[in-house]
């Protein structure tokens, strides 16, 4: 799932839409409490821009 530019600023309403799509029914208070946590996580990841293109995802599922 990628957010369109119009959705990049998360709100309680967009969070509710995303939650409902997954079958999570959350109250306004619960969504408002979650919003800064979700935003912090996304902005922390978005700020990382210098991953080398050849870097593959880590995989722990191998016999060493």
């Amino acid at each position: 799932m990628r957010y369109s530019p119009g959705m990049e600023k998360l709100t309680v309403d967009t969070l509710r839409t995303l939650a409902t799509a997954q079958g999570l029914e959350l109250s306004d208070a619960e969504l408002a409490s979650l919003l800064p946590l979700v935003e912090a996580g996304k902005s922390g990841l978005a700020a990382v821009r210098d991953i080398q293109p050849e870097t593959e995802p880590a995989s722990q599922f191998r016999i060493l």
Binding site: T55, P57, Q60, I63, L64
Partner: protein, 464 residues
């Protein structure tokens, strides 16, 4: 544990006496400590009687014969409820033991009970709204956190109501309570010890390991736990070395890196001074010590969010939809965050892990171990959410997990051993990080340090 095993094997003390003495201490102290969720008194005494008979008959004894151990309550135990520290599993009784529980029993250890923890291991403070938050034995007057998530393991071993315990570590949950409770604990390499039968928090970041009073005891307890397990496809087929034999007391010629930026520079002044003093002590024994900077390690928080949160959500998804009210408020909210991490973000987190792992591997290509503080702070009061480090204020949670989490992402083995006390008498931890599957060198350095110092021998007044 080593001494106890030796005394049992030489008939100086009976396993029944040992188990009964621990049960008596639990009865006397655990009303305040709240370190146990379930005490397995009857089965422990029955096992102790069988162990006593085995000693009397002169048969071959395992390395932990008759020694009691505590099990964090996320290890499945056949016929004994396993709650995960949650109301959701308050009455769940597994049908088989976790692999490490069976292996410890095979080595002669006697499970004493199931230990309290942060609910579903999702919190570094060790809080628990359902079974009570364990009390850090190092302050009898103020209810301080033990660190988590293995808080019951930390409290029970520190208070001497359990000689050694199993913890688990997804972001620091063995090393943080070891640091805050004055214990020795090791998070082995990812793949060294089976996770089969252990309730997961995040499959790719979970590690299981021992928490004891010394590095030597950790070596004793880790040995039977380690090794390939067909029930856990992520375990390694590499042979398990003789950890006890690795404890030579020598560090001469070892190359040690002292992690400077992010780690030392982000720690409280007491923690920084204690770790620098530990490095000097090892240098004085012939190791070479040089400063090291890991420049990518600040990415760990973002990577951990991207990986841990959705893995935890995936495990709990159905319960979050049907039984959400049964979670504690903090864990429920933390778990829900994982619902909003996209697939692309998860893979970005996994790519960051590769970057981090490569950087740590590169540092360890030239060095044998790395040193860092285990935690930036000492144990705080229960309910305290912020702490001052230098002139700045930080969240307690982030200050606990900041230095341990990177090595859950990279999978490197990492131990925490006591390295001093604050002016208030609270323990501090030294973190020792090694090469993949080289727990032996990590334990060797930890043990050598403990032969130079007496921090690990000190006991809280509550344990008297």
């Amino acid at each position: 544990m080593r001494e106890l095993a030796r005394m049992i094997a030489t008939k100086k003390v009976s396993p029944v006496e040992v188990v009964q003495a621990h049960l008596d201490r639990i009865a006397a102290l655990d009303g305040k400590l709240r370190s146990y969720i379930t005490v397995m008194g009857d089965s422990a005494l029955a096992a102790a009687k069988a162990a006593e008979a085995a000693v009397q008959s002169g048969g071959t004894l395992g390395p932990l014969h008759g020694v009691p151990v505590g099990l964090k309550d996320l290890y499945c135990t056949k016929g004994v409820k396993t709650t995960g520290g949650s109301k959701l599993l308050a009455d769940w009784v597994p049908e088989e033991d976790a692999t490490v529980v069976a292996r410890l029993a095979g080595a002669g250890a006697i499970p004493l009970g199931k230990l309290n923890m942060h609910e579903f291991a999702y919190g570094p403070e060790g809080l628990n709204p359902h079974y009570g938050t364990p009390w850090n034995p190092w302050d009898a007057g103020v209810h301080r956190i033990c660190g988590g998530s293995s808080s019951g393991s930390g409290a029970s071993v520190a208070a001497g109501i359990c000689p050694g315990a199993l913890g688990s570590d997804t972001g620091g949950s063995i090393r943080i309570p070891s640091s805050l409770c004055g214990l020795s604990g090791i998070k082995p390499t990812y793949g060294r010890v089976s996770r089969a039968g252990v309730l997961p928090l995040a499959w790719s970041m979970d590690h299981v390991g021992p928490m004891c009073r010394s590095a030597a005891d950790c070596a004793l307890m880790l040995a039977p736990m380690a090794g390939y397990d067909p029930r856990d496809p992520t375990t390694s087929v590499l042979p398990v070395p003789d950890y006890a034999a690795a404890l030579t007391g020598q560090v001469k010629g070892l190359r040690i890196g002292l992690l400077r930026s992010f780690f030392l520079e982000g720690a409280g002044p007491a923690q920084r001074a204690a770790v620098e003093a530990a490095a000097k002590a090892l240098e004085g024994q012939g190791a070479s010590v040089e400063p090291v900077d890991l420049t990518k390690v600040s990415l760990a928080a973002a990577a951990s969010h991207a990986v841990l949160a959705p893995e935890a959500y995936a495990y709990h998804e159905e319960w979050l939809k049907t039984r959400a009210a049964e979670y504690g408020a903090d864990v429920r909210e933390r778990l829900r965050v994982g619902a909003f991490v996209t697939g692309a973000e998860y893979l970005k987190g996994q790519r960051l892990r590769t970057t981090l792992r490569n950087e740590v591997d590169a540092a360890l290509a030239k060095l044998d171990v790395l040193l860092a503080p285990s935690t930036a702070i000492e144990a705080t009061a229960v309910g305290q959410n912020e702490v001052r480090i230098g002139s700045e204020t930080f969240p307690v949670r982030a200050s606990l997990i900041r230095f341990t989490r990177p090595f859950n992402l990279t999978g490197h083995p990492a131990a925490s051993v006591p390295c001093g006390f604050t002016a208030d008498g609270l323990p501090m931890g030294l973190q020792i990080i090694g090469r993949p599957f080289d727990e032996a060198t990590v334990l060797r350095v930890a043990d050598a340090y403990q032969r130079l110092t007496d921090w690990h021998t000190r006991r809280p007044a509550m344990a008297a």
